[in-house]
Point group: C2
Chain length 350, copies 2
């Protein structure tokens, strides 16, 4: 899944080059490329399907020249994850009715690749032998209030449990209870299932969506697929797979994993999880001279020099034609600021 | 005089494009161009001589295409104002032994052009009939601690006085006494004199410099001038005209003027003298969305958007590859920061 616009990281993440396409850590590989690298050791590259917004197709071809054109599904409109997953499911099943599927965002960080690989292989094993929708739950390492949590139920195999409940982002004290209990895991947005299993679940819980795709069911994985989807996809309602299916289905399981995961969802979680300089700032790969300044996170173009004096706990993000300076504690206001920018200047700076 | 590097405004002012070449107020004209515009109503454009560092010649030709090549004197090295003025004096006297000269920096702001014009014409009148070195003293409007002051002596004509003393930058309480007394005027660095008068004064008080120029006295305003100066100018000591001549000569007068002058010497004086937005920030011509932020001064490229939250009394200056964020109260540290930058990265960001 590679169609998001990453607005919480504006202006570092921009509409024409969102977060997943950025070399976030200065390693020479974007988050999308890192995701691809992580998966090719598990999945035949020819079987990797990228669902994206049509406007990012050329960026994807540039960053992943290994892909054939028909491995990129181009959404004509943004409709959240349920329609995205539904389309990919119809496409994959048309190619292989017995396919097992790993669904993953393209803009998360995973630091322990071997544990990731083992978890995925273990999950595939489970879904091959169970009629299961399997979600990956991350063992929490802190009382994070920015994530959804999954409460685990009965263990059915080592490390795999029935899901008891999905919960929204908790407040701080509730998050502390969650972490302490050992029963709650972070909802990673990564899933494993048989194509057949998710299609059945979509038909049962999201028939508004499957009805749209069923109208062209003979066209998937043919030359007519794109035209059909271009015309009909926008009619899908915009809804997440969690809300449309996972919170309703009764065959939902969670694999409890630990592999150094971070969804890179907010500046503060990025700051909290990044190595700090001696002076207490996170500078990623940029050049910063800091005087009487700590607790800041900097994201500016390579080769740009930032000289900062007397600044504590700020986000400093520069994307060439936009500079944002904002206290980390106020980062939830960034979305409102982006709205103000849009109102005042149109799309120019988004 | 157009050879300065404007380091106090780093990084807005850069070694390869200092302050005088910048369109400071977004009017479409740089400070140099504004200075030129102000003077052509008084002086025949063919008689305007620009003394600059050789590295800025192409910038000057670009900004002032009206000038003939021989109107630009290219210093091969930086030696402060006395050698600069000495060279121009020798050059001008070779063209016209009776010349009257206005010496002016190219990077000051003057808002009341008619008063400026009248003051200059009045000054020319005075030096035509007196053996005088005339400096322009600005009637102070606030107890500025960043300027040198001139104490006036006896009035010799309306608005023109003998100079009693030159004083260095005073502290705050002394500056208040100065302003209250009515006897002290800001030293503007603008001068009017006959070429002959300043040459005599230089010969008397700065003979180390005139001796160097005298060795080639037949060469000024000939094709051999440039080569002679290239070779010999670097041997001049680096010294200001104030220190070398004005503080020593006994025929020094001051014309007391008021024409909306600002030397644009520091961010704080620029802030204090610029119109503020409704939100209390000085944004010049740049696009700023400010939240819970006031007292800041922004200098960023045209067309760049700055979104700022929770920042009080800062300088935010962006020059493409350098971003500076510094409290206004700490601006005297900028020079030290520039040193650190130089030590760490060489000339790249200067």
């Amino acid at each position: 899944m590679c169609g998001g616009i990453g607005s919480r990281f504006w202006p570092y993440s921009r509409q024409d080059k969102p977060k997943q396409f950025i070399d976030f850590f200065g390693t020479g590989r974007s988050l999308l490329q890192m995701t691809f690298d992580r998966i090719v050791s598990i999945v035949d590259p020819a079987n990797i399907i990228i669902v994206t917004n049509a406007q990012y197709t050329s960026l994807i071809r540039e960053q992943l020249p290994e892909l054939a054109p028909d491995q990129i599904l181009q959404e004509p409109a943004r409709r959240n994850t349920a329609p995205c997953i539904a389309w990919a499911t119809y496409h994959i099943l048309a190619r292989d009715p017995e396919a097992s599927i790993l669904v993953t965002p393209s803009d998360h960080l995973i630091t322990r690749e071997r544990e990731f690989e083992q978890s995925i292989l273990r999950g595939f094993e489970f879904i091959e032998s169970h009629d299961a929708l399997l979600t990956l739950g991350i063992r929490p390492t802190r009382p994070e209030t920015g994530y959804g949590y999954i409460q685990i139920g009965k263990e059915v195999e080592a490390g795999i449990n029935k899901v008891k409940t999905f919960t929204e982002k908790p407040d701080r004290s509730l998050a502390e209870v969650f972490v302490e209990s050992g029963e709650f895991f972070w909802n990673s947005g990564m899933f494993l299932w048989k194509g057949k299993a998710i299609k059945e679940a979509l038909e049962r819980y999201a028939s508004d969506i499957t009805r749209i795709f069923d109208a062209g069911k003979m066209l998937f994985a043919t030359e007519a697929e794109n035209e059909f989807v271009s015309t009909n996809f926008p009619a899908c309602m915009s809804i997440s797979i969690d809300y449309a299916v996972m919170e309703k289905a009764d065959n939902v399981y969670v694999e409890c994993v630990e592999f150094g995961w971070n969804d890179l969802g907010t500046w503060s979680t990025l700051y909290d999880n990044s190595p700090r300089n001696r002076d207490g700032n996170v500078t990623q790969n940029c050049r910063v001279l800091a005087y009487s300044s700590k607790g800041n996170i900097f994201a500016v173009p390579d080769d740009k020099l930032v000289v900062v004096d007397g600044l504590q706990d700020y986000i400093i993000a520069d994307s060439g034609d936009v500079l944002l300076i904002c206290p980390k504690s106020e980062e939830q206001r960034i979305k409102l600021m982006v709205n103000d920018v849009k109102e005042k200047y149109g799309d120019k700076y988004l």
